[in-house]
């Protein structure tokens, strides 16, 4: 029982800690709001029975976007796709892309970086040179090349972002491991007979992992941005798929509006843009909050 109580105390402490910084509250509110949207998507925008819910309903074949109406409350975009429906179900797509990619990238980075940092020597040298190769090529260009190699599609965008993303985390992890590795308590752990594995997992990683986790949480937004960029370029999801990036991609031809009325189709790019913007902002602010909450060294100051 006492362990449960201790855990609760820690949790309360964590929330007290968070109250001190209003920005992290804003961040968490935004992210929680998006989580609710994702969960409630089938209620907010009920899909037609028997259809893939991620494919937006289309109200005609005219390419010209229509302003908000009773049928489509936020208007339609090119191809008469329902903007409201696309934005709501796009939340799920964004979470899926962001979380899967980040989780994979962080895991890979932690494993590879720990091996490089802890064991050093030739292993370290080889791994770090590989990351150098990745760094030598512009990220988005490399991601595009990989998507083209695998074939267009959202799953392949995720794969490409994972392949492109891990070196950053591996480097950060390695640097942190190198810092912690030489601490006295690691030596002390070795002196009481801990094995290499135990030292790495129990003594070094818990002290080195936080910067990586914080960077990961801040990066969820950026991943969504990158995925949107790839979708915008037409490499992501198929036409009609509920994804913010593709929604903006669909509005590409209408950004200039009509002659004499530049804002005629404002809703087609502003609404999905706002979704992307707030989503990324929320995660970045929450990343800061995570840093304050998780880092044991600054936690109790």
């Amino acid at each position: 029982m006492s362990s449960i109580k201790l855990f609760m105390d820690e949790l309360v402490f964590t929330f007290k800690k968070m109250r001190g910084s209003p920005l992290s509250i804003v961040g968490s509110v935004i992210v929680v709001f998006y989580v609710c949207l994702a969960i409630a998507a089938p209620i907010l925008a009920p899909p037609q029975p028997g259809r893939d819910p991620y494919i937006m309903p289309s109200y005609g074949i005219s390419p010209i976007p229509k302003p908000p109406s009773n049928e489509a409350i936020w208007g339609t975009t090119e191809g008469q796709y329902d903007l409201y429906y696309g934005c709501i179900w796009g939340v799920r797509t964004a979470f899926r892309t962001g979380l899967i990619t980040t989780a994979a990238v962080v895991m890979l980075g932690i494993i590879v970086g720990s091996i490089a940092g802890y064991f050093g020597g030739k292993v370290d040298e080889i791994i770090m040179r590989i990351t150098d190769i990745f760094y030598a090529i512009p990220t988005l260009v490399l991601a595009m090349a990989i998507v083209v190699l695998f074939g267009v599609g959202l799953d392949n965008v995720i794969k490409a972002l994972i392949i492109v993303g891990w070196p950053t985390y591996a480097r950060l992890m390695r640097a942190e491991i190198l810092r912690v590795k030489n601490e006295d308590y690691v030596e002390a752990a070795r002196a009481i007979g801990c094995s290499n594995f135990r030292i790495l997992v129990k003594h070094i990683l818990p002290n080195a992992i936080y910067p990586v986790l914080v960077m990961g949480s801040m990066n969820i937004g950026n991943i969504v941005l990158a995925a949107s960029a790839l979708s915008f370029l037409g490499l992501g999801s198929p036409a009609g798929y509920a994804d913010w990036g593709s929604l903006i991609s669909l509005s590409r031809n209408w950004i200039l509006g009509l002659p004499g009325n530049p804002l005629a189709f404002w809703h087609t790019y502003t609404i999905p843009g706002l979704f992307i913007f707030t989503f990324v902002l929320g995660w970045n602010l929450l990343g800061d909050a995570f840093r304050d909450m998780l880092d044991p060294l600054i936690r109790r100051r």
């Binding site: 009481i192 801990c194 094995s195």
Partner: protein, 385 residues
């Protein structure tokens, strides 16, 4: 050599340690001979950088990169007879560290992991070396529970745990242990936790920590320097090691705490019957707690004798000079002229000869060997051959 002399627990023979740095090969330890008797406190004194700590770390084979032990033997008396640690692999060394030889570092704050509670860290040594003991203890309690348990489902679970536990007692480090951390099968783990906790609290009590139950749940930064050092000593002594190496454990503490810790160390020697290798540069401490003293200079042992002999009749010119340097009221402050030699290019012959007031011609040509001039009094100097 198959047998250590009566009463010796550790003997370091002809130890050579080199550091391969970019600037050159640092000959940090050269033919060091050192032994430790059962239940004694041996003080190792010398200036900074003379190789005291490196000698200590060598006995655990914990020399940091780019250092390497180039030669010598380290004999340790273990439960299964005399062992030359230099012939053993890393896996064996992990069993030696903490169980036979422990070390207390200079900076108590840095030697504790900031994210674990004091109790968890002290308990870790117990968990590593006494796993089988705790498993069998927990097994006994589970079997007692099994006798009174009527619920057939719970009986089945407990029986399963008994099976796993029996396997684990044979091989405490097998991967079966993962099974015991599963939510339903964690009875044994819970029991082990409380068993270890009890032992740790007992240890903390012996170390003189106030309110050990509360200290168990505290984090290192919540303790004062002296309390931290007590916790670190508890960690080192958790498995009742034969040898405790104390590497300047009081250097960063203030004088009153220092006295308390010294008192504690002496008390613990009597209680645990451990031998202690006490590394320091403070001759005052040496006079206070040590039985024997080894004086080191630039990677060599120059004199080793009982503490009274060292202070009353020092033989080696370096020892004499060192004792002269102890500040006393009403006396001119003295120091040894010259500086410690660069160990990349150490002086030829006796490494002390450039600073020695009694240097002779032979001193720069030939390194003196450690000889016994009186019973238990060893000196490496050409003046006494």
């Amino acid at each position: 050599m198959t047998n250590l002399e009566e009463g010796k627990v550790l003997e370091i023979n002809n130890l050579v340690v080199r550091f391969y740095t970019y600037a050159g090969v640092v000959k940090a330890i050269d033919n060091v001979f050192l032994y430790l008797k059962d239940g004694e406190i041996l003080g190792v004194v010398g200036e900074t950088g003379c190789g005291k700590t490196v000698t200590a770390l060598s006995s655990l084979r914990l020399i940091p990169n780019p250092g390497r032990i180039e030669g010598g033997d380290i004999f340790l008396k273990t439960d299964d007879g005399l062992v030359n640690l230099m012939e053993k692999n890393e896996k064996y060394m992990e069993k030696v560290r903490g169980r036979y030889i422990s070390i207390v570092f200079q900076e108590p704050g840095a030697a504790l992991n900031p994210i674990y509670k004091i109790g968890e860290q002290v308990g870790e040594a117990l968990l590593i070396h006494r796993k089988a003991h705790y498993y069998s203890e927990a097994l006994r309690r589970v079997e007692e529970k099994l006798k009174v348990e009527r619920n057939p489902f719970k009986r089945f679970i407990l029986k399963l745990e008994v099976k796993i536990c029996e396997k684990l007692i044979e091989d405490p480090n097998s991967s079966f242990s993962i099974l015991l951390s599963l939510p339903l099968l964690n009875e044994v783990n819970k029991l082990m936790e409380t068993l270890i906790k009890d032992d740790v609290i007992y240890l903390l009590k012996i170390m003189g920590l106030p309110d050990p139950e509360r200290t168990y749940n505290r984090y290192p930064h919540e303790l004062s320097g002296g309390m931290k050092q007590r916790a670190v000593i508890a960690m080192a002594l958790a498995c009742n090691p034969k040898i405790l190496i104390a590497d300047e454990p009081t250097t960063n503490l203030d004088v009153t705490i220092e006295a308390q810790i010294l008192h504690l160390i002496r008390e613990l020697r009597d209680k645990f019957n451990s031998s202690i290798l006490y590394i320091t540069h403070d001759l005052g401490i040496v006079a206070e707690i040590c039985d024997r003293v080894a004086v080191m200079y630039a990677g060599n042992i120059c004199e080793m004798a009982g503490v009274k002999d060292i202070f009353r009749e020092p033989i080696h010119p370096y020892t004499k000079a060192l004792i002269e340097c102890i500040p006393r009221p009403g006396k001119q402050f003295k120091s040894i002229p010259g500086t410690i030699p660069n160990l990349i290019n150490p002086p030829s012959g006796c490494r002390f000869h450039p600073r020695c007031p009694e240097a002779m011609e032979i001193c720069s040509k030939e390194a003196p060997k450690l000889r016994e001039v009186k019973e238990g009094h060893l000196v490496a100097c050409h003046l006494y051959r």
